[in-house]
Symmetry: C2
Subunit: 194 residues, 2 copies
């Protein structure tokens, strides 16, 4: 990593932290300048616009999510074990308030604000659906999962489980958040097994 | 309704509309003044603070949700029919982007911002959980639903279904949002029947 890249990454890490508190929509060159002590003009040189900054933060959050959740699942044997690994890793990420969770708040911040941030969120979510559906499909090919179910339904359902967990954990601080989510996951998994 | 009440309600309706676009966190006396053409001082006379305005908007959203979703469900026969009515009404509300959906965005806006708005969101959600759990309980007493399941699990699961619907409908504009949600609801309902 060059010195320029390292600086850029350090700034993005701070931007991710701010977005975690204020939302991606609350992240601007101005809020980042105040928080980081860097000059606005220096930040403009790195990012050129608020939107480019927001896109960089979402790109970083996506990388983290892939590294912490998707890749470990793909490293596990296909079928039930892969889906269980996916779920366990996602639960850890959701519980820790890691950067991947920026997507939950950004979804409602940008859902009716057309533009490149919304476009990226939509594209990233369809990529996630593709990854999840593919995990289902490979398990169905092996005979672990039923082959008469739509793989996209699995993606939709698992995402809903994680949204409910995030809400119960973050807003409600519900001590039963994890137990409820595990119960729902087991019911979902049982309904998929062939 | 007195003239003062009618004015207040008209202002709140406008505030709800703004909160729908900018989030509850984006709703301030200033944004409301610009949108409504009323003076800031006039609005301060009505609401006294930004937080009081945000609380009034959430109160109004809650009333709408109760009128459009909870009360029609309670008017239906207990058990399966009540839960189906609840689901159908919630789906209509979620699809229409009605005020009740402010709770979805407000949850992530305020989840790490301690204060009266967050407190209200948490209290309102537990009230919702109580209502849903009670619908489950009355169906279990009648023998429609299994009596070995936690009523709060039903509340958690149905909420997750609706969060996933909201995300798929609002962010993704996914044409399959409703079909996926109905499939998940039928699976949930079948798992509850005794």
């Amino acid at each position: 990593m060059s010195k320029g890249d390292a600086t850029r990454q350090a700034v993005i890490d701070q931007a991710v932290e701010i977005a975690g508190r204020l939302g991606v929509a609350g992240l601007t060159i101005g809020t980042l300048a105040s928080a980081s002590g860097m000059s606005k003009s220096g930040l403009y040189a790195h990012f050129r616009s608020k939107e480019a900054l927001q896109l960089a933060v979402l790109g970083s959050a996506r990388e983290n999510f892939v590294a912490q959740v998707i890749r470990p699942a793909l490293a596990a044997p296909r079928g039930e074990e892969r889906v269980r690994t996916l779920f366990e890793r996602w639960l850890v990420t959701s519980s820790s308030g890691a950067a991947g969770c920026l997507f939950v708040s950004a979804a409602t911040e940008f859902d009716d604000q057309p533009g490149p941030v919304r476009d990226l969120l939509v594209r990233d979510h369809w990529d996630l659906v593709d990854s999840l559906a593919q995990m289902y499909r490979s398990g169905a090919k092996d005979g672990t999962f039923r082959d008469d179910l739509a793989p996209e339904q699995f993606a939709h359902d698992l995402h809903g489980l994680m949204l409910a967990h995030f809400h119960a954990h973050r807003l409600l601080r519900d001590p039963a958040a994890e137990a409820h989510t595990r119960y729902a996951f087991e019911r979902l998994l049982q309904s998929l097994l062939s």
